[in-house]
C-alpha cells in the first residue's frame, strides 16, 4: 500500500479540475489525479466557444444570458445557479484571457464573439453574438492554458492514476480516494480533507458519441455505489451534428457561422419547426427535427442522416473560423465541406445530470440540500444545475471555469478549518478486491461484447426519443449486461499499464450510468428538454417541475424528487 496525504485532492484534470487546482495552488498542499495526462482531457475537444455577455460586438447583458440558459434548459435549471453562471462568466472569460488564452480578436483587439444555438438578445428576440472563441479549438486552448497555469504554479500532478474508489467515514464525510497507478500497477491511498470529482461525462454509454473513449463516468459511478445520489440522469443531450456513423462532432459554430441543415429534398427544414431561430434552435430540438425528418422518409436517400451544408460560406471564412471541424469531414468522410454537404446524424454529447451540488461545488446527499462534508464536484460530472433539461452550446465551458473556480475557492476555505478525517481501517479493501478479481479470473465474458450490447441498446432505445416500452426493453438488456459483468474476464493479468483491466473497470462504471439514465427516464412521465417521451409528449409542470434523484441502495435503485429553484423567470412554453 502506498499512502499519501494532502489537504485536497482533485480527481480529473479537465477544465473544471484544473480551474479548481489553480485557485489552491501555492496556498494548500494539493494533488490533481488524472487517468490521462491533463492536456489529453476531453475539454481539449471542445470546439465552438465559451459564452459570456461581454457585449464586444453587439449589445448584450448577463440577464439575457441567464434567461437563455433557463429557457434552453426547459425551466428545469436552478435559477440561483444560472444567475451565478451568467454573471461570473464575464469575469471568468476575462481571467482566461489574462492567463494567456489566445482568443480570436475583433478589429479593435477585443475578444471576438459569435452566434451559437439558443443564445439570444433581449429575451428571445433573435440571435446574439455571445460565444468567445479561439477558431474552432476553444477547448484545446482552454485546456492548454489551464495546464500551463498548473505548471506555472507547480501543481502536483499524479498523471495516469486511475480512480478506483472514493472513501467516506462512517459519519458520512469524504476522506480520500484510492487510485491505480498505470505505470506500476500499484494501488495508492490518497488521504485528504477535501476531495473533488471533476471526471467529465459518460457519452461512451452510447454507440454513437462525440465523447472520448475515456468518457466513461467513473467519477460519478463510484460515489453512486457508495450511496451518493445522482441527479437528472435522464437528461442526456444528443448534439444534432455528429459525423455520420462516427459521431465525431461538427460544432454548432458551423451553423453559427451560417451553415444550414438540409434534408433529402434539399430543404432547409429547421425553420419549418423553429421559425425564429431555425438552424440555431437549441440542440434537443434540432436533434428531434432530424429524427422526425428521417422518420418521415426525408433523410438523405431515405437513410438515417441529413446534410450540413457549408458550401455557400466563403472558403476564407471556413479556413479561418472552422478549420478543424471541416478537417474532420475531410479526414474521416472524405468530404470537402467547401463544395459538398456533410452527412451528419445526432450524436450522444453531454450529460446534463451527475453529482448534485450547490453553487459552491459541494456535493449534496438529498432533496434538502444536505452537504456531504469535504466532497466537491464541478464540470460535466456535476449537476449544479445550470443546464436543466438541455444545455446550451458554449455553456459547459462556462460551467467548468465558473464552478471549477468556485469549488476551488470553497475547498480552500474549508481545508483551513477542517480536521483531517480518519480513513476506514482498510481503505483499499473494495478497490483491491475488484482489481484482484479481474486479474485472477481465468475466463468468462469479454468486456467488449457486453459494452457493445449496452451501447447498442442505449442508442436504439434511450436516445433522442423514448417511451415506456423502449425503456423497459433497454432495462432488460442492461440487467443482462449487469449479470454477465459479474463474470467478465480479461486477457491481461499483468501489473504494468494494464488497460485491459481499466477498460473492464470503466465498463462497470458505464453500466451504473446506464441504469441510472433508464431509471430516471422511466420515472419521468413527461417530455422536457432532451428527455422526450413519445407516450408523454407534453411538459408537465404540475408533477414534474422537479429534479430527479436516483440512489443505489442494497435493495436496488431508489428514486426521489428535488424542487427546482425558481427566482425570476416563471416557466413558460418554450418556442423559438
Amino acid at each position: 500500500m502506498s499512502y499519501h496525504r494532502f489537504d485536497a485532492v482533485i480527481v480529473g484534470a479537465g477544465g473544471a479540475g484544473l480551474m479548481a487546482a489553480i485557485q489552491m495552488a501555492g496556498k494548500a498542499n494539493i494533488a490533481v489525479v488524472s487517468k490521462l495526462y491533463p492536456p489529453r482531457s476531453h475539454t481539449g475537444a471542445a470546439q465552438g466557444g465559451i459564452s459570456a455577455a461581454l457585449g464586444n460586438t453587439e449589445e448584450d447583458h448577463w440577464q439575457w444570458h441567464m434567461f437563455d440558459t433557463v429557457k434552453g434548459g426547459d425551466y428545469l435549471v436552478d435559477q440561483d445557479a444560472a444567475d451565478v453562471l451568467s454573471r461570473e462568466a464575464i469575469d471568468a472569460v476575462l481571467e482566461l484571457e489574462h492567463m494567456g488564452l489566445p482568443f480570436n480578436r475583433t478589429p479593435e483587439g477585443r475578444i471576438d464573439q459569435r452566434r451559437f444555438g439558443g443564445h439570444t438578445r433581449n429575451f428571445g428576440e433573435g440571435p446574439v453574438r455571445r460565444a468567445c472563441y479561439a477558431a474552432d479549438r476553444t477547448g484545446h486552448m482552454i485546456i492548454q492554458t489551464l495546464y500551463q497555469q498548473g505548471i506555472k504554479h507547480n501543481v502536483n500532478f499524479l498523471d495516469e492514476h486511475h480512480l478506483l474508489d472514493v472513501l467516506f467515514t462512517d459519519d458520512g464525510r469524504c476522506c480520500g480516494v484510492v487510485t491505480l497507478e498505470m505505470k506500476t500497477g500499484e494501488i495508492h491511498t490518497i488521504h485528504a480533507k477535501a476531495i473533488m470529482i471533476a471526471t467529465g461525462g459518460f457519452g461512451r454509454v452510447y454507440k454513437i458519441t462525440s465523447n472520448a473513449l475515456a468518457g466513461t463516468g467513473d467519477g460519478i459511478a463510484i460515489p453512486f455505489r457508495r450511496g451518493v445520489p445522482l441527479m437528472d440522469m435522464e437528461f442526456y443531450q444528443f448534439h444534432p451534428t455528429g459525423l455520420y456513423k462516427l459521431g465525431i462532432l461538427l460544432s454548432e459554430a458551423a451553423r453559427g457561422e451560417g451553415g444550414i441543415l438540409r434534408n433529402g429534398d434539399g430543404e432547409a427544414f429547421a425553420s419549418r419547426y423553429a421559425p425564429t431561430l431555425g438552424d440555431l434552435a437549441p440542440r434537443d430540438m434540432v436533434s428531434r427535427f432530424i429524427h422526425q425528418e428521417v422518420r418521415e422518409g426525408r433523410g438523405i436517400d431515405g437513410k438515417d442522416y441529413v446534410h450540413l451544408d457549408l458550401s455557400h460560406l466563403s472558403p476564407e471564412l471556413i479556413d479561418e473560423k472552422l478549420p478543424d471541424v471541416t478537417g474532420f469531414a475531410r479526414t474521416y468522410l472524405g468530404v470537402e465541406p467547401k463544395t459538398d454537404p456533410v452527412p451528419i446524424q445526432p450524436t450522444a454529447h453531454y450529460a446534463m445530470g451527475g453529482l448534485p451540488t450547490d453553487v459552491e461545488g459541494r456535493v449534496i446527499r438529498d432533496a434538502k440540500n444536505t452537504v456531504i462534508p469535504g466532497f466537491y464536484s464541478a464540470g460535466e460530472a456535476a449537476c449544479v444545475s445550470v443546464h436543466g433539461a438541455n444545455r446550451l452550446g458554449t455553456n459547459s465551458l462556462v460551467d467548468l471555469v465558473v464552478f471549477g473556480r468556485r469549488a476551488g475557492k470553497h475547498m480552500l476555505s474549508f481545508i483551513e478549518s477542517a480536521e483531517l478525517p480518519p480513513l476506514p481501517s482498510d481503505p483499499e479493501l473494495v478497490a483491491r478486491a475488484q482489481v484482484n478479481d479481474l486479474l485472477t479470473r481465468p475466463n468468462g465474458e469479454r468486456a467488449a461484447t457486453l459494452r457493445q450490447a449496452m451501447q447498442e441498446v442505449m442508442m436504439d432505445k434511450v436516445s433522442v426519443v423514448r417511451d415506456a416500452t423502449s425503456l423497459n426493453e433497454a432495462k432488460a438488456v442492461i440487467d443482462g449486461v449487469r449479470r454477465a459483468y459479474h463474470h467478465v474476464a480479461i486477457d491481461d493479468h499483468g501489473k504494468t499499464f494494464n488497460t485491459d483491466l481499466t477498460e473492464a473497470l470503466e465498463l462497470g462504471c458505464m453500466i451504473d450510468c446506464a441504469e441510472a439514465i433508464i431509471e430516471g427516464a422511466l420515472l419521468r412521465q413527461e417530455s422536457r428538454g432532451a428527455h422526450y417521451r413519445e407516450d408523454f409528449q407534453a411538459r408537465d409542470d404540475v408533477n414534474w417541475l422537479a429534479h430527479s434523484l436516483v440512489y443505489r441502495t442494497s435493495g436496488g435503485l431508489e428514486l426521489g424528487k428535488k424542487p427546482v429553484t425558481i427566482t425570476i423567470f416563471e416557466p413558460k412554453e418554450r418556442k423559438y
Binding site: R40, M99, P107, Q149, G334
Partner: protein, 232 residues
Amino acid sequence: MDVTLRIKRYNPDEDVKPVFKEYVVAVEPTDRVLDALNEIKWQQDGTLTYRRSCAHGICGSDAMRINGRNRLACKILMQELGKKITIEPLLGYKVIKDLVVDMDAFFAAYKSIKPYLIADDAPSSGERLQSPVDRERFDDTTKCILCAACTTACPITWTNEHFVGPAAIVNAHRFIFDSRDQGAGERLRILNTQSGVWRCRTVFNCTEACPRDIEVTKAIEEVKRALLYEQV
C-alpha cells in the same frame, strides 16, 4: 478487407526484448488504425497496450510509428496504408509496454521552456487588447497537442537526450511571438544553450510528422532568427 498488422510488442513483466506479433483484422478502408487496434484488443488479444482517448486527432494520446512514420493512430485511415502495416512505439523514449512510451522526458522538456504567459500587466477590468494581426503571428504554434510525434521523429533527439526537441521549441514560439508576453528574453536564453535550438539541423522530419500540420521547422527557424537578430 483483411489487413495484417505487425505490432512491436514488449511486456517488461515477461519479455527480455521486444518481439513483433502479427494480427489479421477485417477492416473498412475508411477505418482508422485506432479502430484496427481496438478490434485486436477487444476481440483477439486484450493484452495489446496503447494510449488513446479522443479518437479524432485532438488529444495527442496515440502517436506511434506506423509504417516507419510518426502518426496518430486515430488520424490515419487504413486506405492510406496498404495491406501489411507495421506499428511500433515512438523512438527515443523508454518503452513502458507495447506502444506506450515513457513521456516524462517529453513533458520535462516542455516545462523547461516556461510554457505559460509571462506578463504582469493584466488590466484591472476588461481584456488585454491584441490586434488580429498580432494574434495571427503565433496562431500556427497554438495548435500543438503535445503528442510528441515531432520530437520523436527528430534524429537529433534520438542521439542527444538533452536536446529540448521540436515540441518544446514550438511551445516556446507560441509565447515568444505573443504580443502580450514579456518572457521572450528568458525563453530565448534557455533555447540559446547547449541543449537548445542550435542543435536543430533543419531535417524537416518534425514538420512531416506533425498531425496538426504545424510548420514546426519554420517555427524553429523563427526562434533561431529571433536569437540572431533579437527581433521579437
